[in-house]
Structure formats: C-alpha cells, structure tokens
C-alpha cells in the first residue's frame, strides 16, 4: 500500500479529475486504483519470494560445490598425484632418450664399418642406417608431447586450487578476498609483448589430423616468393 501522504494526494487528484470530467464517480476510480495497488503489492511479494528461493538454491549449490571440491583433496593432487605423474612421464622421456642413445652407439659402429665393405653392400646398409636415424626422431617428438601433458596436468592442478581459493574450503580457510587477484599460473605476470607472442606460437607437435605436412608448408612458403 502507498504511504498515507501519497494516498491523500492521490485522492485529491481524483477529486479534481471528477470535477473536470462530468459523469465519472471519483469513488469508483479510487476503488479501481486501490485494487490495482493491492494487485501490484501482491506481485512485489511474489517476486521477493521467488528471488529469495533462487538465492537460497544458489547458496545451497555453493555449499555443495565447496564440499565436493574439498572431497577432491586438492592438497593430495598438489603434493602427490601431480608430482608422481610428472616423475613417471619424465622417466618415460629419460628412458627413451637412453634407449635412443644406445641405438645411436650401435648404428655409429655399423656406419664406421660400412667404409670397409663392398660398395653394393655398403650402399644398402647406409640406406638402412639413414632410416634408423630418421626413426630416432621419435624421441624428440614424444618428449615434446609428454612435456605438453605435464604442462596440462600442472594447469589443471592450479585451476582446481584457484577454484578452492575462491570458494573457501571446509577446513576453515576463508575464501580469497574479492579485491585480491586470483592466481594466473599459466601466464607470466608482466611478460613482454614479443615473448608472449612467441610463447603463444610454441605449442609443440600437433596431432596428426591437425598438423601441416611438409608439402603444405612448402606451398605456404612459396606464397611469399
């Protein structure tokens, strides 16, 4: 309902309206306006109730999300799972590097011996040695792919930690203050523009379907000529 002063003012205006417009009963207009006002009041209450319900549901969702994130045990992800996965993947790279070097040692002995062989045999063996060198390029490619996986794991870890920082956890830690900037683990704080561009370009080996072939690259280079 409108406040009494506003109510009196409305009544006064209705009386004037009735004076100007013969045939209109100000009493009827008052009734209509009061019923409209009552209806609007009802809508306000309905909106407030709906909003309250939504906020309550949102609060419940946030509580539930906090509990679920706490269940993930981010500290274990940080202190155990990620380092273990990183160490295992580094061991894969180390093992392939060691194996590749042993292959090189053996092949370089064969290559040295080729010089003493008959030309026809030497040619065949030399071709095979070249193929082995080419194939050993796998170590570089797999190493770069593994590094991408390690970086992805570390990014996931940091994102989860940032989420937990933002929401607070169930161990009594307060949520990060809204004025405090969230951590940005993937980007240096003040990287020079040029190095950021270079960093953007360093995405490592592409998956087979996404990679440009040497022929595609040659065509692209030719477009500059």
């Amino acid at each position: 309902m409108p406040p009494p002063a506003a109510h009196a003012e409305i009544k006064k205006q209705l009386v004037e309206l009735g004076r100007d417009r013969v045939g209109i009963d100000p009493g009827e207009i008052v009734e209509i306006v009061e019923s409209v006002m009552a209806s609007v009041d009802g809508d306000h209450e309905s909106v407030s109730m709906g909003l309250h319900r939504d906020i309550e549901a949102l609060a419940k969702f946030i509580r539930s999300a906090r509990a679920e994130i706490a269940d993930i045990r981010v500290d274990e992800i940080h202190s155990h799972h990620i380092p273990t996965a990183t160490d295992e993947l580094s061991a894969v790279v180390g093992a392939t590097e060691q194996a590749t070097n042993e292959i090189f040692e053996a092949v370089e002995i064969i290559e040295a011996a080729i010089e003493d062989m008959e030309p026809a045999v030497a040619e065949r063996l030399s071709g095979a040695v070249t193929k082995i060198y080419e194939a050993c390029g796998f170590q570089d490619i797999t190493g770069q792919r593994v590094s991408k996986v390690v970086n992805t794991l570390q990014t996931v870890e940091e994102k989860v930690r940032s989420l937990l920082d933002a929401l607070g956890d169930d161990t009594g830690r307060e949520p990060r203050a809204s004025t405090e900037p969230a951590a940005a683990p993937c980007a240096p704080a003040e990287a020079p523009e040029e190095s950021a561009t270079d960093a953007d370009l360093m995405s490592g080996p592409q998956l087979p379907g996404n990679a440009m072939s040497q022929d595609d690259i040659d065509k692209l280079l030719a477009d500059f000529d």
Partner: protein
C-alpha cells in the same frame, strides 16, 4: 657456380641432444662434417658471434631463447644478417610458418623429417652439392 663448401662450419641448435645427434649424423652422410652444436638460442647466438658459420639449423621450441628469437637476433645483427637459417621444428601451424618467414627464415622443415627433405632444403638454401 662455385658450388657448396662442404667444409663450412654449420651450427645446429636443439634442446634435445638426440635430435642434435640425428642432424649431425645426417649432415655427415651428406658430406658436412664441420658441425658445432648449441642447446638454446642464447648459447647459439654467442657461438655465432664468436666465430664464422656458413649455416644455422635451429629448432624453435627452446628455453630461454627460442629459435624464432634467435632468428630475429641474427637478422638484426649487421655481421650475421645474411647467414642462411633453416628452422627444423615440430611447430607445424601456418601462423608459425608465416612468423618464421616474416622474421627472415631461409627454409622450414617440420619434424618428423627424413634425410631427403633435409638434403632438398639444404640444396634450396645453399645450392646444389
């Protein structure tokens, strides 16, 4: 045409030692035995300023100085600006190729590569040998 001096010093740059060994061995098969190595752009730049080289073959993705940064340093150095520079990298997006070309790369080889591709690009850059 005077031909290619197969004894010219070549600098190969890659942070993977196995890749350095592969390129060194393939160059040796092609008759180039005077090969020096560096494992990142800044070490390579120091070597390029210390002695004369006839060719640089460099990876892109290295720390602290990338192959692209090395290329830009070479192209802005009065003494080095005309040095043939071949990029051998797993970076195979068109934006990488364009960025390298705009920075002045002589040729671009995508990993994994084979000996025939390496030879073809060296011929394109240095001339027949």
């Amino acid at each position: 045409m005077a031909g290619v001096d197969k004894n010219m010093p070549i600098l190969i740059v890659d942070d993977y030692k196995t890749m350095l060994r592969i390129i060194r061995n393939l160059l040796k098969q092609l008759g180039f035995a005077n090969v020096d190595e560096a494992t990142d752009g800044s070490a390579a730049l120091q070597k390029l300023r210390d002695r004369e080289f006839g060719l640089v073959i460099s990876d892109w993705n290295m720390e602290p100085m990338s192959g692209l940064q090395l290329l830009k340093e070479v192209r802005t150095d009065v003494k080095l600006k005309d040095l043939p520079f071949v990029m051998i990298t797993a970076e195979s997006k068109s934006e990488n190729v364009i960025a390298a070309k705009e920075a002045g790369v002589s040729n671009y080889i995508v990993k994994p590569f084979n000996a025939a591709t390496l030879k073809g690009k060296l011929v394109a850059v240095l001339g027949s040998f």
